[in-house]
Symmetry: C2
């Protein structure tokens, strides 16, 4: 039994790390997860494990390079697992780790917000643009 629980350790970490500071590791982590492809990959994995080709199809417009790069970075950060089935042809499945599952709902909320508030943002843009460019 640890002298401090996991929740307590996270509280301490939150006090120690500050993304407002340029050199803080949390700033870099924030930069990593504040990424379009990261958002789409994590939310795509919400319903369960997915194959590489599934993700590629689901996330329209992503290049092989970006998908692989994103998956590798998320694997390295411990947010998802990569399991290879050595069949012919090979099959690769990606799944969220427990850590990834703690982040996923937060990311998912951002994606949902973008989808549900799109009309308001579009309206604001029109107002802004017409106000500054009345001709």
């Amino acid at each position: 039994m640890p002298t401090r629980t996991a929740a307590q350790l996270r509280e301490e970490a939150a006090r120690e790390y500050d993304a407002f500071l340029a050199t803080c590791p949390a700033r870099q982590l924030l930069d990593r997860i504040s990424d379009k492809w990261v958002t789409l990959v994590l939310t795509a994995l919400a319903d369960g494990p997915q194959r590489y080709s599934d993700l590629s199809r689901r996330i329209a417009g992503v290049s092989q390079k970006m998908l692989t790069q994103t998956l590798r970075s998320l694997e390295r950060d411990g947010l998802l697992t990569r399991s290879v089935t050595p069949s012919v042809p090979v099959r690769v499945d990606y799944d969220l780790t427990p850590l990834g599952r703690t982040l996923m709902p937060l990311i998912s909320a951002i994606k949902s917000w973008a989808e549900s508030h799109m009309p308001e943002v579009a309206a604001a843009r029109t107002t802004y643009d017409t106000a500054s460019t009345p001709a």
Copy 2:
């Protein structure tokens, strides 16, 4: 009284827009708000209006260009307001709009997650790196 409430309109929008589609406007919006500087600006404004110089000081390492660019984009999208006090020297205050206040807590949660889970991510990276580069 509208035939549909604001909440109902957002539900419809959520069905209409899908960030998984490459050409969907929600995809572009997601890309905009999935940004390090956006996160830091919005969370900085959580406690109330801030002056340009305040934000500049609070968000360490941000260049004038990126700060101005981020603020303009957020203003255009209707997430914050820009108010100029024509004194000498001029004073400019930024504040969240109601729309911005709906997004802020979600963004803030991401920033908090990055700060509190940094140790676990760091550990995962070490494991990943030592496993692939043992020699």
